[in-house]
Subunit: 235 residues, 2 copies
Amino acid sequence: MRVHALLFDVFGTVVDWRGSVVRAGQRLGRGRPWDIDWGEFADLWRREGYLEPTAQIARGERPWERVDVLHRRKLDELVVRFGLAGLSEAETGDFNQVWRRLDPWPDVVQGLHRLRKRFLVAPLSNGDFALLTNMAKHAGLPWDCIVSTELFKRFKPDPQVYRDAVDLLGLDINATMMVSAHPRDLEGARSAGRRAAYIDRPLEFGPASRPKTTPGSPYEVSAADLADLADKLGA
Amino acid sequence: MRVHALLFDVFGTVVDWRGSVVRAGQRLGRGRPWDIDWGEFADLWRREGYLEPTAQIARGERPWERVDVLHRRKLDELVVRFGLAGLSEAETGDFNQVWRRLDPWPDVVQGLHRLRKRFLVAPLSNGDFALLTNMAKHAGLPWDCIVSTELFKRFKPDPQVYRDAVDLLGLDINATMMVSAHPRDLEGARSAGRRAAYIDRPLEFGPASRPKTTPGSPYEVSAADLADLADKLGA
């Protein structure tokens, strides 16, 4: 069966969350007497504020919450831990919304424009529906629609999410392909019957990133970026 | 409070469902010995297949179903009633999908491109999520996201739908405006606290359409089309 829709992981695959958070932190710190390692700050915010809680929720160990709420709770902790003194409530709230203003990797906007001529393209992200919608507007991501796991009150890689998304789009499961830089995400999609495309984002975790997958990975497609994906899918 | 998002009714406000169904019927009938009044066919399909059942569901009188299913059930009846002999299952299924291929009114694509520079623009339609997504791709409607009442398993004008949509977008209710050619839709939105813009679509029901509202209607904005709406909202 021909692939009709491409569903994209977003944080890390489409946008450079770490670089964007680092730059936003540096702007926030301008003219303030802080000495912050913003890379470490970004990594902790991502790991403890998002990856760990969403994984716990995906395993059914705690109730579902919006990512905005998870992010904000951890930010309030990190503000204390890193000694970010003197932030107003408005500044903290605005900094939390940096996740709506993440910058895409350089190949993304043009790559999506190519791919959407041949395929239905949509995110399938754990990011909130409003977060993804605002991010698309900020970054100029030409999605055909926004699919957030918020619609299902579950998180990837819960296999049910991949089935729910395909059902919402009215498609056969093997007419869809999950595109992600994260092997765990692709494994979740495959366990639900979806096809999988791996995108290599070697710098997702900054200059000290470790390789995420081995050569010869078992996915239908493995690509260096969205231009390469478009080439390989004939778009 | 400033308006941040415009949510649009779709069938009749954004797309010319009647003209599109009539043209699709005429194409289907080419070379067949039928004598069909496609305007009457379209009106019955719309009224008995969509307006009446969604109104019953909105009032809680019957369980929610997808619009694709409602449309198909009525189409199967109309095929018999109008004597559309010789249609294959594939042709009937494809004809049912005409609702995904409705053509926009002539002002719509350009008007939405103008409005989306200043506002978040999205449908808020009883059409299924997949239907609206495919329609947007077919017609080139530059929505920021797709909001279908399918996400809430309710139908407009149930006031809860307007609140659910605003909550999904993470906005204050009075930062959103409902845009519709249908007074009942706007009344539902206003009863939920939303602002309302009326778009005059005098030919929605064909050449014999009757006026839908009286001059001096009580909405914040009343516009002839989306270009006029963009002018009036300063977009």
